[in-house]
């Protein structure tokens, strides 16, 4: 997925209430936010519902954003907060037995089995990680952002990102190396990954 770069002029116009700028901003960032909502959870919340709430929050309160340069970090913080809220709501509903708490949602309603399987595998990896490592893995490994870019988004020092990344990598290695039941045949998985290089 191509990552959009924050456009300060567009963000400033949107913050002043320009409807066309808001629409453009929505089109640009909806895929990014949907991706974040997909991978920041372990597959139990509905990512589209969460992304919808994030974008509505952002579009209605963008006037309060003082520094357009901080837009991406603000968007990420809002996404984290909304995903957390959806998780809590899910837990609350599970208390009333409306939904099984551990129920895995089908992320591909159009019935794409291959995509469904891929998401499930990634969720099984990310779902075992604490939130801070999951965020770094999403930004630095899945989205291939640099440590400094991730540090700016997460509002933490670059050194913190690097140490979290190191821990996340080591866990990923352990998980993929040992848990063959989840990954199916890791050898074929790894060889297919290598074939893409």
């Amino acid at each position: 997925m191509e990552k959009p770069q924050p456009n300060p002029g567009l963000i400033l116009a949107a913050s002043k209430g320009d409807q066309r700028a808001k629409h453009r901003l929505l089109e640009q960032w909806a895929p990014v936010v949907l991706g974040w909502c997909t991978w920041l959870d372990d597959g139990r919340i509905d990512p589209e519902d969460a992304a919808h709430d994030v974008l509505v929050t952002v579009l209605t309160s963008i006037g309060s954003l003082r520094n357009p340069e901080a837009f991406q970090a603000w968007l990420f913080v809002t996404t984290k907060r909304v995903v957390g809220r959806h998780r809590r709501k899910l837990w609350l509903r599970s208390c009333f037995s409306v939904l099984e708490e551990n129920e895995y949602r089908d992320p591909s309603p159009d019935g794409d089995a291959e995509r469904h399987q891929a998401r499930r595998e990634v969720h099984q990896i990310l779902g075992k990680l604490p939130d801070d490592l999951r965020q770094v893995m999403l930004l630095c490994i899945i989205e291939e952002r640099s440590s400094s870019e991730a540090a700016a988004i997460l509002h933490v020092p670059v050194g913190t990102v690097k140490s979290r990344l190191r821990r996340a990598r080591s866990r990923l290695q352990r998980r993929l190396g040992r848990d063959k039941a989840i990954m199916g045949d890791p050898a074929s998985a790894l060889s297919s990954a290598n074939g893409q290089e």
Binding site: M1, K22, H23, L26, E27, A30, P31, L34, G35, T38, W39, E48, A51, H52, L55, V56, L59, T60, R93, F96, V98, P107, D110, E114, R115, H116, A118, R119, R120, E121, V122, I125, M137, I141, I142, E144, R169, L172, Q173, L176, G177, M183, P186, A189, L190, S192, A193, N194, Q196, E197
Partner: protein, 301 residues
């Protein structure tokens, strides 16, 4: 530089990545919500959440639990206070009484008043527009109540206390019994329009800020027989009015009349001279006669 494990994760994530169809559907959904929000004329998300189909289904599925919860809440509220007071409840009540009357518009505020005014605002931020008479206010300390009393001449800000505001013809008198009160006199000609903080036992009077208003009030007080207050109002008006202003001439004439009634001839003679020197015409003949009489009489009090 990615390890093979990371490459595998990237590949699986890209297979399971968001499609353009999903993103388009999300964009349409957000646009629809924003349009709906725009047509709601400021209705809160909270109110819309309560009327959303999901919420209604949830409530319907657990109606017994909801009814039980509501009953428990109501019972505990009644047991605690006996009545419901919400911080957002709007206040709007006229205060009108010739006899001393007590009123507790909110649990944190008690009023004792004689006169007329109106209380508006919300429970945590009541505003009292006090027109005439005496109003005693008692506010529960540290209750987060931001109460303000406004008169023509002053704004009184409460800082958790008991105080009284007397609005009469001369002006507004604020007297503090307990705690601390901030008073701002609405007088642009005053040296400072900053908030004046009054501690317990202190008082402050805010006077009108226009010479014509003070002239009217001085005349009214004089006709009511309140000589001291009338002279105070006239003196205040004289300090504000510029030489040559006809209002100043009237104030001088009134002050002369009041001083003569109190046999303060020496002060009266000084003001008569000011009247004649500044060239006012309306009461010139009267003032010349007074000057003549004062010259013939021995000076004294």
């Amino acid at each position: 530089m990615s390890t093979p494990h990371e490459k595998w994760l990237q590949r699986r994530a890209s297979v399971g990545a968001v499609t353009s169809g999903e993103a388009d559907r999300l964009v349409r959904r957000v646009e629809a919500t924003m349009e709906y929000a725009g047509s709601m004329d400021g209705a809160s998300w909270w109110s819309r959440a309560w009327t959303s189909p999901g919420t209604l289904l949830f409530v319907a599925a657990h109606r017994r639990a909801m009814v039980g919860l509501a009953a428990i809440l109501l019972a505990s509220t009644l047991a605690l206070g006996g009545s419901l007071h919400w911080s957002s409840a709007r206040l709007d009540q006229f205060l009108e009484s010739e006899l001393a009357t007590t009123l507790s518009p909110t649990p944190e505020v008690a009023l004792l008043y004689t006169g007329s005014g109106r209380i508006q605002g919300r429970r945590k931020s009541p505003r009292i527009d006090w027109r005439v008479g005496t109003l005693q206010v008692s506010v529960q300390p540290s209750a987060g109540v931001d109460l303000v009393v406004e008169t023509d001449e002053a704004t009184v800000q409460v800082h958790g206390t008991r105080f009284s505001v007397t609005k009469d013809l001369l002006g507004t008198m604020v007297e503090v019994e307990n705690g601390l009160v901030g008073v701002t006199c609405l007088n642009p000609n005053a040296a400072s329009s900053d908030e004046l903080f009054l501690a317990a036992g202190k008082s402050h009077r805010c006077l009108p800020n226009r010479p014509s208003t003070l002239l009217g009030r001085a005349r009214a007080l004089h006709s009511m027989g309140k000589a001291t207050m009338a002279r105070q109002a006239a003196q205040m008006g004289l300090e504000l009015a510029s030489p040559g202003d006809p209002v100043r001439g009237e104030l001088l004439a009134l002050q002369v009349e009041m001083l003569l009634m109190d046999s303060l001839t020496e002060q009266a003679a000084g003001l008569v001279k000011e009247y004649l020197d500044e060239g006012y015409e309306a009461r010139r003949e009267d003032m010349q006669q007074v000057a003549e009489i004062l010259r013939q009489r021995p000076t004294g009090h």
